[in-house]
């Protein structure tokens, strides 16, 4: 058995499974920081995680946590209680891309081209959650890093996946082009705040969806072992 000392160095791990479980913890708790690709020794682990029961289970329990909080909120009658959803890997899923291209380092151009050619399926637990949150009376804002020229395409994809009744779909404007997500997303939340909205809940698969000022009353981190957005 490895000692605590040797375990302070990831390379010493005796088993890839133990290492990959720890890598997953590091990624999901944002300890790993800006990681660029799944470690080679974890490619099979990530494939099993994403395509087996575990991703669905983690995603589903997070949706349950989210709904429990949403139901606990005393919604005001002024229509200013806002709920934010990210889009990719939160409402709709690139998993089919990874299933056909592998879970290793992604060719960014190929990835975007594929995204423009294919309709992304809904994440079912999110679709149910989304409908319930709308039903509760929150104003829903979709805040995505996709550029403005993806608007029609994104709206159509979301509608075909079953989403409707959002208050606003916020996309990157030309002036946001070179901003990191961790700067761009809080700026857009700040604009909602300035319009008088209270940001009650925020749902995303990236820490850059959730961190930075202003922060939502509660933020929910959905699983994503496929990529990191800084």
């Amino acid at each position: 058995m490895a000692t605590s000392q040797s375990l302070s160095n990831g390379d010493d791990h005796e088993s890839s499974s133990l290492f990959c479980e720890s890598w997953r913890f590091s990624v999901e708790a944002n300890n790993a920081g800006n990681w660029s690709a799944v470690p080679d020794r974890c490619l099979e682990f990530v494939k099993d995680y994403m395509t087996g029961d575990r991703y669905k289970s983690d995603f589903g329990l997070t949706a349950k946590n989210t709904l429990e909080f949403a139901k606990s909120v005393d919604i005001a009658e002024d229509g200013k209680d806002a709920w934010i959803f990210d889009v990719d890997e939160t409402l709709i899923s690139f998993l089919p891309y990874y299933e056909s291209h592998g879970f290793g380092k992604t060719d960014q151009k190929e990835f975007v081209k594929w995204g423009l050619r294919n309709k992304l399926p809904a994440l079912q637990a999110s679709l149910s959650l989304y409908k319930e949150i709308h039903q509760l009376g929150f104003k829903i804002f979709l805040l995505t890093g996709r550029p403005e020229w993806f608007r029609n395409f994104t709206t159509t994809n979301l509608a075909e996946a079953g989403y409707s009744d959002w208050e606003r779909l916020i996309l990157r404007q030309p002036s946001d082009e070179n901003k990191k997500a961790i700067d761009y997303k809080p700026e857009k939340r700040k604009q909602l705040l300035d319009e008088g909205y209270r940001i009650i809940g925020n749902v995303g698969d990236q820490w850059s969806d959730l961190m930075g000022y202003p922060i939502a009353q509660r933020s929910f981190k959905y699983p994503n072992l496929m990529y990191y957005v800084a």
Copy 2:
């Protein structure tokens, strides 16, 4: 196989192991919010996790992530680059308490009494990390929710566990008594900021160690499936 729909309800999980893995994700990503006890069906899972290889492995890789960031920092010569460590479950460990009392709901009085009677052992990966961070030139601040009257006892325990050379040990003052950790800890970080320190890194096992303004340049969430501090 359960469908995505049924998995949106944790109670429907077919296997406790799958559920407990998801519960762990929810806890570590702070989606579960203020949880009061390990779910009964996960008591064995938590015991195996904490006393087997997994806790050490997760802890060790997080320490590695932390050190990698610390080494990347260009430390100024003004002595104002600060690094914060929490104490319990970050530097020293209550694991022996849980091993002898079980991982279920804790009797808070008994827990504190035990903590006063027993020396808590160092978490070895933290001890190595702590020494390296000190060596790099950071000023180390220990920020704990323990009350001021624990000062001597805590100092002795930390010294016996191998820790030394901290700049300041910050404990709850009488005026902090009724504050939640999520309010108390940012207030103390704000005081460091007001003294001219730059809060570069922050290490803790609770989200309430890490969240709130001012936030460190990088925060590192260490694993803890034993308890939650709001």
